[in-house]
């Protein structure tokens, strides 16, 4: 079946996935030290939605429960969903654009710039917050933007950006910046733990302010990226093919690299480097959505959010009160599934 014929089914599955995401969000809000039931969690959340919120009252609910859900659990859940969406969508875009199934959001070296920025802020003792956003986040964001600007200019040949050069420049800069982080750690032994934990990725410091920073970026980025879905289909058949079928390849590449960099920089700066989401979710959702980016991108957005919400719930409740870094959870869950996908493909190719 061709894409337009499959579209009704794809829309249906997408709706089911969105319901699944909602269920995951509510369920996640019931996990934790305070026991809050599924229905109570729904009541608390709905009461805060404009317009229909007035129909639901939180009378009779423990006010500390309301506080826990709204101020502690929900920001964290929403932030992890946003990070998951951003990483998975960027992963899909980069895999299609570079025609490379190994591409992930960190392939352009952005995360190492964020790590360096965050490390500098940590050793400099910048514990202040600026309108609710920590200096570590701000430094990480600046670090990633500077890094991608550097890599982009190294890779650029005239007005063109050859994908291989971009990826190789990204790898080189990645190693260089991570070495700088190591050197910083060696000379600041007392901050090593903090830096290591930051790099492993976590959304434990989530706040509504961070959501206010990330949400508009992710939403706007997603909308613009969706406009280029068909161009991405053509580019995954090769740049020459895309060009000969009418895509302004270099222009599209610049726009998408800019948006992806912004999304990754923003997510990394609030959550650290969370691995595997951006690599594995695109491959996982392709089984449902097919390779057409018109369905792959929305599926990745929802799939990435579901995966991150589940992983973060595990990260904060599996060994409570201790926390497993969410980056470790995503990789532990992600790697076996990825290997399964490889195995499946291998069987398909060789039989």
């Amino acid at each position: 079946m061709i894409y337009v014929e499959k579209r009704p089914i794809i829309k249906l599955i997408l709706c089911i996935l969105i319901l699944g995401l909602l269920a995951a969000v509510i369920l996640s809000a019931t996990f934790g030290a305070a026991h809050i039931s599924f229905l109570d969690a729904i009541r608390i959340m709905v009461s805060k939605i404009p317009i229909i919120g007035g129909l639901v009252s939180t009378d009779g609910l423990d006010s500390s429960h309301v506080m826990i859900v709204l101020n502690l659990r929900l920001p964290r859940i929403i932030l992890s969903a946003l990070v998951g969406t951003a990483l998975a969508v960027v992963g899909s875009v980069l895999q299609g654009m570079f025609k490379n199934p190994m591409a992930d959001p960190y392939v352009m070296g952005i995360s190492s710039g964020a790590s360096l920025g965050a490390s500098i802020a940590i050793v400099a003792g910048l514990e202040y917050t600026f309108s609710g956003i920590g200096f570590i986040t701000i430094f990480a964001f600046i670090g990633s933007i500077l890094t991608i600007a550097l890599i982009y200019n190294i890779a650029r040949v005239g007005s063109k950006i050859p994908p291989t050069t971009l990826l190789l420049a990204g790898i080189a800069i990645n190693f260089m910046l991570l070495s700088l982080v190591s050197i910083i750690m060696v000379f600041n032994r007392n901050q090593v733990e903090k830096i290591v934990f930051w790099t492993m990725g976590s959304v434990s410091s989530a706040s509504w302010n961070q959501i206010a920073f990330l949400f508009p970026l992710v939403l706007a980025g997603l909308v613009v990226i969706l406009l280029f879905s068909r161009d991405l289909n053509l580019m995954s058949a090769g740049e020459e093919t895309a060009k000969s079928l009418g895509t302004e390849v270099e222009k599209v590449k610049k726009i998408l690299i800019a948006i992806c960099s912004l999304l990754v920089a923003a997510s990394v700066s609030v959550s650290g480097t969370i691995g595997f989401v951006g690599l594995i979710i695109p491959h996982a959702v392709r089984l449902l959505s097919g390779s057409d980016h018109r369905s792959l991108l929305p599926f990745s957005a929802v799939g990435g959010a579901i995966f991150m919400v589940i992983c973060d719930t595990i990260s904060r409740s599996a060994a409570a009160p201790a926390e497993i870094p969410v980056g470790a959870v995503t990789s532990i869950l992600g790697s076996p599934y990825f290997i399964y996908l490889l195995y499946r493909n291998k069987k398909k190719v060789f039989n």
Partner: protein
């Protein structure tokens, strides 16, 4: 060929860095028919083709398509004039054959539009013309080389462009599939009024199917003309350095070349060992 010039190439040069590939190419392509670009490896066949397809961007005023300078086209408008079949098409991800063919409609579809029923009909016709309709639901990565090449030709057809460029479309196919592709192209020229320009290595196939041949040597056009004027013993010897006998194909009447030795005769000596 009704004598209307569809492509005019005027003093085209192309260099990769300081390395000159094409020198002072002058060529007029007339509407209709199959043009074969032949010549030894490194003679500039593919580079010339890519310049016409604008995969490589030529200098201003060196190539005109339908009386308009090629640099003046947007990618989308050019895609309605010229379709391009690259030598290899690899898709990293799974697309059905028909979805790949439908990609050829891209130059006509606006950003948020989907393929209309008209687009689907055009794709269906193109697939039937290239004998790929039965493959429509298969993954493009699971079909054979010949089937894939036909699907890509179908995609080029859906572009509804007057000019179709192909980069060595048959060089990786077996004899049967080589003839099948060439037959399809011949039919497209007659039925769809497409002008086909292809680079091709096999001189006998070129002589049999092409209406005109462009023989390239060291980045220049050595000679252009009908196969009978190009496939000649002395010309082949001076361009390829190959001794050959040219005879008349008893079935098709086109020139047929039988090479028997290299300039240096190394071949004959070593075969005697």
């Amino acid at each position: 060929m009704n004598g209307k010039k569809i492509i005019v190439i005027n003093k085209l040069d192309w260099a990769y860095g300081k390395h000159n590939i094409l020198n002072n190419i002058n060529l007029a392509i007339y509407e209709g028919g199959i043009y074969g670009i032949i010549g030894p490896n490194g003679s500039g066949k593919t580079t010339l083709l890519k310049n016409i397809a604008r995969c490589l961007v030529p200098k201003k005023n060196s190539i005109h398509i339908a009386d308009k300078d090629i640099t003046q086209f947007s990618n989308k408008t050019l895609a309605r004039e010229i379709s391009y079949v690259p030598q290899n098409t690899d898709l990293e991800f799974e697309f059905s054959v028909m979805d790949v063919v439908l990609m050829g409609r891209s130059p006509y579809i606006k950003r948020l539009q989907s393929e209309s029923s008209n687009d689907i009909e055009i794709a269906e016709r193109a697939m039937k013309a290239t004998n790929t309709w039965h493959l429509r639901d298969k993954s493009i990565n699971m079909v054979s080389g010949g089937e894939k090449q036909r699907a890509i030709i179908a995609r080029a057809l859906t572009q509804e462009a007057n000019i179709m460029l192909l980069d060595e479309p048959v060089s990786q196919l077996d004899l049967h599939h080589q003839l099948e592709i060439m037959d399809i192209l011949k039919r497209l020229v007659i039925e769809n009024k497409v002008t086909v320009i292809m680079s091709i290595h096999d001189l006998n196939i070129a002589a049999q199917f092409c209406d005109r041949l462009v023989l390239m040597d060291k980045g220049k056009i050595f000679k252009e003309g009908i196969p009978n004027d190009i496939i000649k013993e002395d010309i082949i010897y001076s361009v390829y350095g190959v001794k050959a006998i040219v005879m008349k194909n008893p079935v098709t009447g086109t020139p047929h070349i039988i090479p028997y030795g290299n300039q240096s005769d190394v071949h004959r000596k070593s075969s005697g060992d």
